[in-house]
Amino acid sequence: MAVITYRDALRQAIAEEMRRDPAVWILGQNIAAYGGTYAVTKGLYEEFGAERVRDTPIAEAGIIGLATGSAMGGTRPIAEIMSINFTLVAIDQIVNHAAKMRYMFGGQWSVPMVIRTSAGYGMLAATHSQTFENWYAYVPGLKVVMPATPYDAKGMLKAAIRDSDPVMFIEHSNLYGQKGEVPEEDYVLPLDRADIKRAGEHLTLVCWSSMVKPSLAVAETLAGEGISVEVIDMRALRPLDTAAVIASVKKTNRCVIAEEGWRTLGIGAEIAARVSEEAFDWLDAPVGRVGGKEVPMPYAKNLEKLCVPSEFDILAACRAAL
């Protein structure tokens, strides 16, 4: 298997699907000649041309609405929204249009569309450092995924492109440069399954996206102390594969959830509530939740560092749960 970056894995997925199916096209800001803000779409314009790799104005609601309508009309758009923070100006289109189309009209048509966007932070301050995966995961009619590795990114993006319903595909700016093994041959991954990234016996550590790496590091640290941690990467957030978590907790009897976003009302709240309900008799300790500090993200590096959950925070929560 080739070792490639998350960025390259995404690009391969898009390029392969565009080669496979002429209905697939991509639109977004600065994705064509510029190559994409995070360079994911680099080279696609050169290969596929201006009709299939299309720069748009700064008009995110227009972008999503256009992609939705075009999908209804027979194409398969991939809409890139530079940052998940900018999806707020398009959320009406995502939630009240794309996500409602099929049900509200009695199942007459589908909206085969992927919305690719990016979470992340990095001294970008309050309006550019949020993650709203919990909001999108609230919405029936959407599928929401947030892969953490190049392998998952490629397999899930290909699956998302082939899927018949709108998929929020949320990347992370910290991950683009991360490397991992990716098979050369065509493969797809399910959009509704968590993945056990490391098996363990004593504690279930739940994470996704940017939190997978520090969670694995914590598992490694605790392994050195003879504590075996099962690290579950949710990957899919709607549907939310809590069955995998509950099965694990029934074995480990302990659970900690690590989330980059604000703790209150994050995905972790739902997971904790379900685990506490469905594994009530198996839990030996309260479910621990680690989340972002509940402030609008400050710019200053030292403050920002305090806000984002660290390996240390996760480790502390695990110790508290043990």
Binding site: G62, S70, G73, T75, D92, M104, F105, G141
Partner: protein, 318 residues
């Protein structure tokens, strides 16, 4: 314009009028729920405009959508069943009055978020361009919908990408209870199209033939690959914004003035005068349409409610 078309125009407008009078009745009887927005007074716009389309073209509209659905050829029975929330409705009772659609006729729905359907409509036009299908997408919306951002984003995309999109603004002078002078800094909506370099035209929306003529030219323009076209049809709703509207904001005289220009009655008179209709044929037609509407209502009311077991169907594609 041939006699058959003119007769068909009259028939369609009449069908919309009688259908909606029936709707009002069923709403009063609590067979229809939610918000009900009647199109009465504006019939000439939908009928004249949609006439210009082929079955491969698209229609997208807002919540005041009964007229567009009927003009697009959706049957009165399944439409009324939809309004009554029945399984036999065009959307199996899931959509209701504001969300009438029939994919087989490329009638992609009524939408109830003001302006929100316009980027979607532009996207349908994009699909025509992408697939080189030769089709055109027609969208309908009100005067007060041109103040919201999504309208403007859609306009820019359509002109920038030269999409085959025909925008039809039905300017009935009010957005709910607020007159256009208090909503918009310009009083001619066509001025907004000019800001996008989009060709546009104003038309008398109470005259079905005038509408048809202008819209047909717009559709030709779009179909020929020249990009979008914008039409502002001047019209008026004879009823309240919705059934809940106490209607305290409009001058009686203004309403009466517009009612004298009733697109249905004036057209009837015109067809009688030009002998396309006779009194007898007009009355026969009226009886026929009335019977159609009554049959639609019966069909609706005799239809079953959706099966609760199907509640979770259709959220995702199987």
């Amino acid at each position: 314009m041939n006699r058959e078309t003119r007769r068909a125009f009259y028939r369609q407008m009449l069908l919309i009028r009688l259908f909606e009078e029936k709707c009002a009745e069923l709403y009063a009887g609590a067979q229809i729920g939610g918000f009900l927005h009647l199109y009465i007074g504006q019939e000439a716009v939908a009928v004249g405009a949609i006439q210009a389309l082929t079955p491969e073209d698209d229609v997208v509209t807002h919540y005041r959508d009964h007229g567009h659905a009927l003009a697009r050829g959706l049957e009165a029975g399944p439409l009324m069943a939809e309004l009554c929330g029945r399984e036999t409705g065009v959307c199996k009772g899931r959509g209701g009055s504001m969300h009438l659609a029939d994919a087989s006729r490329r009638m992609w729905g009524g939408y109830a978020i003001v302006g929100g359907h316009l980027p979607v409509a532009v996207g349908l036009a994009h699909a025509h361009q992408y697939r080189k299908s030769g089709g055109v997408t027609m969208s309908f919306f009100g005067d007060a919908s041109t103040d919201i951002g999504e309208f403007h984003e859609a306009m820019n995309f359509a002109q920038l990408w030269r999409l085959p999109s025909v925008f039809i603004c039905e300017n009935n002078l009010y957005g709910m209870g607020v007159p256009i002078a208090m909503n918009s800094s310009v009083q001619q909506i066509v001025d907004k199209a000019r800001a996008y370099g989009m060709p546009s035209e104003r038309v008398d929306g109470m005259d079905v033939e005038a509408v048809e003529e202008v819209v047909a030219a717009a559709v030709r323009h779009a179909r020929a690959g020249n990009g979008p076209f914008f039409i502002e049809a001047m019209t008026y709703r004879f009823r309240g914004h919705s059934m809940a509207d106490p209607e305290l904001y409009r001058d009686k005289a203004e309403v009466e003035e517009w009612k004298r220009r009733d697109p249905l009655q004036t057209y009837r008179a015109r067809l009688l005068k030009s002998k396309v209709l006779t009194s007898a044929s007009a009355e026969a037609l009226e009886q026929e349409v009335l019977a159609e509407v009554e049959a639609a209502a019966r069909f609706a009311l005799e239809s079953p409610f959706p099966d609760p077991a199907t509640l979770f169907d259709d959220i995702y594609t199987p």
